[in-house]
Amino acid sequence: MQENNKVPEFNKETLDLIAQLIKRYPEGRQKSALLPVLHIAQAENQGWLSPGMMDYVASLLQIEPIEVYEVASFYSIYNLKPVGNCVIEVCQTGPCWLKGAENIVAHFGSRLGIKPGETTADGKFTLKTVECLAACGTAPVIQVGTEYHENLTTEKVDQLLDQWKAENKISHKNPYL
């Protein structure tokens, strides 16, 4: 988890990508690129949007910082507080609940020693509950970064956790790359 006094700056590759994205919208409508750019900014900032990062995004898109804050706080994908290296999002809506999502949440919770919304003390994992991920036919479902894991069982959860621990899983990566 990082300090925010420093003004962030993207590398050339990322800035070029953002310039490309802005071109998808008409002249003067560069604000349209805000959601896509926030996906990138969050990935480049350890998985969350700090005020400093949001100000930087505002400057890139030539809009007011408040326009970024009000959007970032509206959408559930953007984290406004620091998160662990690997954010585990468990779907809890009806169809997943029918297929045992509560057991999956509880199993992650007991394996990691945290409740939904919390991060492990070593900063490695954050557990979150989320709403329907459009994968109800293969419930229960979780999302980690851009990956879906479906038809989960407690055994599968154990396997995934062992694997992620071994490889020091980081779920925030620039999703465009």
Partner: protein
């Protein structure tokens, strides 16, 4: 076997590659339409096919296209609604992941008919990996002359872009989607004006669901009459049904509209019956927003007619004994299911997803969740049950967008059909399941 319009070839390995899609006859509809039909003739074909929007509302697509303001000097836009966030709905994810060129081909056809030069696919941010598959397919379509300047040498030019959302169910509502595409919070706009007049960037815009767009190539290739010959009544063509819950074979099925519900649930071609030979208890037939029906009313209408998978038949009986086809998200519950707990997960969903603009929706969704938590947790009273009905009644119809209704119907219908189960929670002071 039902006609395959949307899932045709979907199991072919590598279908997401341009070459494979093309060799199977892909992009023939674009060639045919751009070279032999005027935009108005194409719109007419879509009108005659009788296809209705597959995003949930079921509005006739050709008629919607007819509303677009053609007098305006402004550019026009076509936006594909790939927000797919209605609980129980997971068909669009599948289509775009395995057959992205079908969606692109449909977008070219729709854009040509509407005189659109820039079109967008707004896809929920959680499906980023699907967006990348579509993005790659779009690049292939450009490289092969089906997108970009002067398509197939006809002088028609089109750019197509994907745009990821940020995680918000409400952005599936078409005006919230447009706000979001402009880089704002997803607050639905007051209608009128409708997007066909004032849409994206204040310009005439059509918003269509993925599945609606993906049906266009078949309609062009086979003709509107062939499409209209499938189905019953005003439910023409095929529909993707995403079936989940306590069935033996959850998955995505393409049905000809008019298929009996009983056959859909019990036949091995579709859901394959209820798991472990359990008893069917209830079905939410069209995504979480539509009224829940108990087994006897989903299989047969109140008049005793077999219930069909069609807009009309599912709605037969109105709110009292019917429901809606909606998005085709078909959620099946067996006799082990607690209706109150299932409803509580829906109530939590709507509270979380309310954009907060209208007080009845913002406050009502939060009250309904709290009261349901109380009842499920064993602290509810009989008065709470009536209070829920009362809140639902006051939210419904009193909000800017239909999310207020969508949050109210599940509550009102669950209490209408399963009132004893709510009362049992209160009497026992705990959940009986």
């Amino acid at each position: 076997m039902a006609t395959k319009i949307l899932l045709n070839n979907i199991e072919v390995p590598g279908l997401a590659n341009f070459q494979v899609y093309r060799e199977l006859g892909g992009y023939a509809a674009v060639e045919k339409a751009i070279k032999t039909l005027t935009p108005d003739e194409l719109t007419d074909e879509v009108k005659k096919s009788g296809i209705r929007g597959r995003g949930g509302a079921g509005f006739p697509t050709g008629m919607k296209w007819g509303f677009i303001d053609k007098q305006s000097e402004k550019p026009r836009y076509l936006v594909c609604n790939y927000d797919e966030s209605e609980p129980g709905t997971f068909k669009d994810r599948h289509l775009g992941q395995f057959n992205p060129h079908l969606l692109i081909e449909g977008m070219i056809l729709g854009s040509y008919a509407l005189g659109v030069k820039d079109a967008y696919i707004y896809i929920r941010g959680e499906l980023f990996y699907v967006m990348k598959i579509i993005d790659k397919a779009i690049q292939e379509a450009y490289a092969n002359g089906f997108l970009g300047d002067n398509i197939l040498g006809t002088g028609y030019s089109l750019n197509l872009y994907c745009h990821p959302g940020g995680g918000a169910y409400i952005c599936g509502e078409e005006t919230a989607l447009l706000e979001s595409l402009e880089g704002k919070r997803g607050n639905p706009r007051i209608k009128p004006p409708f997007p066909a007049i004032v849409g994206l960037y204040g310009c005439p815009t059509v918003v269509n669901n993925v599945e609606t767009i993906a049906a266009l190539p078949w309609i062009v290739n086979n003709g509107s009459e062939a499409y209209a010959a499938i189905g019953v009544g005003n439910s023409k063509g095929t529909k993707l049904i995403s079936a989940c819950g306590h069935i033996n074979k959850p998955g995505i099925y393409e049905i000809e509209l008019g298929l009996p519900v009983e056959e859909f649930i019990y036949s091995d071609e579709y859901c394959g019956g209820i798991r472990n030979g359990n008893k069917l208890k209830a079905v939410v037939a069209g995504g979480s927003s539509v009224p829940i029906l108990p087994a006897e009313l989903i299989l047969k209408t109140a008049a005793g007619e077999p219930r069909l998978m069609s807009y009309e038949s599912l709605a037969d009986g109105g709110f009292k004994t019917g429901t809606m086809l909606g998005s085709g998200g078909f959620i099946v519950m067996d006799h082990t299911t607690c209706i109150v707990k299932n409803l509580l997960t829906f109530a939590r969903f709507y509270r979380h997803e309310s954009c907060g603009q209208c007080s009845p929706c913002r406050e009502g969704t939060s009250w309904m969740e709290k009261i349901l938590m109380r009842i499920e947790g064993g602290q509810g009273t009989m008065k709470d049950i009536d209070l829920l009905v009362n809140i639902a009644k006051h939210v419904e119809g009193n909000t800017i967008c239909p999310l207020g209704d969508a949050a109210s119907w599940p509550v009102a219908s669950a209490i209408l059909h399963f009132r004893e189960e709510f009362e049992e929670h209160v009497k026992l002071q705990k959940c009986p399941f």
